[in-house]
Symmetry: D2
Subunit: 370 residues, 4 copies
């Protein structure tokens, strides 16, 4: 139940510091009998890997996962699935200059205030590199959800204030999304954003953006009232990502300015074949609710959007404090993203998968006879 543990039944514990020997995760509670191989895990890790060009950091890591336990003859055993990724490219020297300085926008000082000391190499455990364990665990969760036909798709929906056209309206172009380093599913916007990012890089600055996520195939009835609601669980999951500053579901903040008569989605009859239980056929004419009512899935697509602040490591000179309380001018060097939003896309998917896998298992306990 510590801060490094996530979930109730389908759970994950992650471990590792940015420049320590290894990072990884232990997934517990994954049901037995699910086909799982190292390739699925490796593939997801490659999606978040640095070095993909474009706005990404130039640190090169192979990020090769090793499956330590929990799988036998290609299927999950029902036992903990431990996955480890060794750090191979630990240029700690880059960080020596930073070890006595609190970088603006980073967690250096807050970790020190909390624990009394910290691992200054690359931010230690507060590094975005910690998400490796999340993505590896998310790959396991995706394999589980795949058995139910549930699919999760996230994409970069804005960068530096430039919005990406709604992929639902354009027809979602998943291939395009993975073809450009920005994970923007729209070629023209991607090209425009790349240009802006280069300007920002030249100015020694950085950019933020938003990631949108859509889930198809969810059965109705997921979510644990009242504190474990579907949106509550997802919000907790997303805001646990380092640079996340906000989340909204369906119409989100716009709903707060709307009227009941326009925000209520109208139920319509539907035939819901293939559901895990017999439910009346209800769908909705619109989806302002984002796929949930009262924190329980409606069976409509799940939709949410997460805001990420700009990368705090910028090459422009900044003023800050050192450990003695003295003001220092700081010029950050080393390998850093200008905009990490594209690399966060697979992490958002992974956290979504972890939440949904857990709720799918909890769902099994909803009723007698199920």
């Amino acid at each position: 139940m510590g801060g490094n543990h996530f979930g109730t039944i389908f759970t994950v514990t992650t471990f590792g510091e940015s420049h320590g020997p290894a990072l990884g995760c232990v997934v517990e509670g994954c049901p037995a009998g699910i086909p799982l191989g190292i390739d699925e895990i490796s593939q997801e890790l490659q999606r978040r890997r640095p070095g993909g060009g474009g706005p990404a950091t130039t640190r090169i890591e192979a990020d090769t996962p090793e499956l330590l336990s929990g799988v036998f003859e290609g299927k999950t055993l029902g036992t903990p699935i431990a996955i480890m990724v060794r750090n191979t490219n630990q240029r700690s020297g880059d960080y020596d200059a930073l070890k006595d300085v609190y970088r603006p926008g980073h967690a250096d000082w807050t970790w020190e205030a909390k624990y009394g000391f910290r691992d200054p190499r690359g931010g230690g455990r507060s590094s975005g590199r910690e998400t490796l364990g999340r993505v590896a665990a998310g790959a396991v969760a995706k394999a589980f959800l795949g058995e139910y036909g549930i699919t999760i798709q996230a994409w970069t929906s804005s960068v530096a204030g430039i919005p990406v056209p709604d992929p639902e309206e354009l027809g979602f172009d998943l291939e395009e999304r993975e073809k450009n380093p920005l994970r923007i599913p729209h070629r023209e916007t991607a090209a425009q954003v790349l240009g802006v990012i280069e300007q920002i890089r030249s100015a020694g600055d950085s950019a933020g953006g938003t990631v949108s996520c859509m889930v198809h195939g969810l059965p109705p009835g997921l979510g644990e009232p009242v504190f474990g609601k579907l949106d509550a669980r997802l919000a907790g999951a997303m805001l646990s990502l380092g640079a996340a500053k906000g989340i909204e579901f369906g119409a989100g903040f716009a709903a707060a300015a709307g009227r009941g008569s326009t925000q209520n989605d109208q139920p319509i009859p539907a035939s819901l074949q293939g559901l895990p239980r017999e439910v009346p056929g209800v769908r909705y004419q619109s989806n302002q609710a984002g796929g949930m009512l009262g924190g329980i899935s409606t069976g409509m697509p799940l939709e949410f959007r997460v805001a990420f602040k700009p990368v705090p490591s910028i090459t422009k000179p900044q003023k800050t404090l050192d450990r003695r309380g003295l003001v220092r001018e700081l010029i950050i060097q080393g390998r850093h993203d200008v905009c990490m939003v594209p690399r966060v896309v697979p992490v958002v998917e992974a956290m979504t998968a972890l939440v949904l896998a857990d709720l799918m298992l909890l769902h099994r306990g909803d009723r007698i006879g199920t």
Copy 2:
């Protein structure tokens, strides 16, 4: 660890349906020795009570709490604190017409899809009345936090798209906030909004809005990396409120459109006397981060904003489905808020208090020797 349980050490379990015999909570893990009386609890419950005039429902409930355990001679014992509020005004008849109909925007169908059947009286447990238990528990958490000088203040920061001026800039007028039924800490805006609400009521419609919250007095170092971050815990808490559709911390969604050079708050020297542990004196020249970095409190005020959709119960005719899958015209009667945002203000405070009380206790385990 069920969905009705919240927290890790300082925890709460709530119970009760809208029209059942009683609602309430059990608070566990509250340290011994804290002065606590029924009056503090009662006072918070009165703040969320219906019948306050203005936009609120006209259902009249006394909402008198009873303290069943955990307090002896005016101080907490360290044992579970059970608090119960009886339902006295259960006009179930109002809801007979609704028992076979899925109200748009409500959780009727999703609860039925989940559990196979539901208590249709006033939404059963999906009713906003469930928050009674949260507010009672929050009063206990506030008493605990009060021992450390931590104060929590929420207010209505927009209604139906009308923004409320920033109370920090105006000088926060707490008295004004509690003087008007909208909990808007600015008299002129309150008057304007009341007018708009009356128009919406006349039109048979409803409104949403936002609640902002600010916490002063937090020590730096609160928050449990990596999944139990301060913002992650708060986001999970806030999105567990029935009509919440989004949350943002500090600069929030605006941060996603900004640059690193402007979003990074600059650390400045400060003398931080009275902290629970020796920390270097760090404050920040601005607070775009909303009081946290890496999900750990910085010692600056905690700031966030929550979006709530309009009340789904409107008196305008709506089309919906019944349990047989037939389309029905629905005209909702009974007692309903036009805008429940003002009544959510104490609930937002309560959930904030519960998160912070838990993190304050977890904080005690951060280091050897503390």
Copy 3:
């Protein structure tokens, strides 16, 4: 996850002090659709009620439960089930003499060492009266298990060193068990023990004993490796009872003196119709393992035995300390059991039911497709 919370999915939180306003519980995670009424709960509470004659305390309490939430039209809703029992016979005056004295064998001093102060009336929350909430919750768990044909039967298996003949060999006489105040399922032994207890009472002393428990109808496959094993969960549950000093499963301590060749139960073919999943037909020629292997149920009857120390409240004069550290002679008055083992029988059943209900729900998550 506090100390007053038990279980993972099917959970209970208990509350209440011996002489406070009320005691009770909140059961969370009970599936929807289970028939449940106040009578089932009341009946179990009556079994642990004082005043049944024989060795029991003479405090008279009606112990009438009230169902506050979670049940609608006679069926569980899937929401928290809160049950409350008011204390009506609070002769606190009896305890005034004890408030500054640490009674030998009681938790007076340890609670004070822990919390800094305590409710001295009847032991406060350390009173056996706390088990009211457990028994009420256990009644809910029994109703759930009843849906699967699982039955739990505990009995007094020894008192003051006098063993009770094995009911399996005699043919278990459930009626006889409930006919005598000792819950000994063998009339002659019951008569003998009653005589011994009267002698002990006359001497101003008290007696301990053991409770045995047997569960029939468990499917194979229950228990969560590796820390949540069936026996681990039951051991934790039983040792959480105030006076419990030991537990053994199957052959228990005798197994430690045996040989592998005689302790191994031999698997034999069996037709296991009616199981929830297709399992090969395995039963065992003996049951030294007590119904589990590797902490997972085998499908054989579950068997264990719990040791309880004598009631620490005796009327014989004792030497002890008071809060100032001075030696005092103590003569305890008030209403006390000579031997509380018979009243513990329904509590052992309740805790067993709570463990099994939780494991039955966790079991649903074992495999894909189940």
Copy 4:
């Protein structure tokens, strides 16, 4: 919260199968600032290592631990501590003959009934080898407890029915305990038992025994009422060990046959300097309670005893079933302990350390101002 996760704040998750790539653990919630090196971990692992001669298995494993995270410059960071041990000597071939057979006394069939299939190599995760992760985690917990002067000592207290003299009375000979392969702290008894074990080995049979454990230096006030009592937590921890069949605290089962007048330990004045909080000076003239009252530590030594059944793998021919339900004669080969009790001694210590470390941290939340 899965079955492979243990604890509330100071927690451990273990992973790994007997013949998989690796076993290990992730320790979460260990406070920052504790000196910790690989040597302390390695040393504890060596104590449970096979190949020590005497009754142990002849499988040879180096069991070299690797520290993957959570320690920086020789001190704990407050982040998860991941420890891994690779399996190097995986003679899976030995187990081919067993993969379709349910070994008597083993968990083969119960795991298959639970998960649908299993890793048959060496029992997979049901192997005693799983305790590697527990022992590694226990080493971390011991380092934490060492900061408070708390020491844990377990020993073999009986084998095959032969009792070991009480080390308290003899003067506990820790050196002698570690000098003989049986971990019997009494040379003459050790010699006698070794002879008996050789006879049992010759007969193709195996033996069980008991492990006793004593903890010194515990402050009073540890243990979380009512379900998380000190004895409840320890009982759950010990019965989670594969072959454990019972536990007793202090006088244990003998207490059940005693009288209140002799079982009550008499409080006596004492000066308890150096405690973490000011408590009145209370000690006890005897320790039949085993160091706890009401499940909370008294400050007296903690004492308990755990019973372990004989090793189920014996070389004598046995009858059993195969997966098709056919009776088979089974002759087990491979590398097995005749009596694994001595190797369990460090595991009992490890689990004790994990329980106590967690309770020490929870203890920090008992009162305001602490």
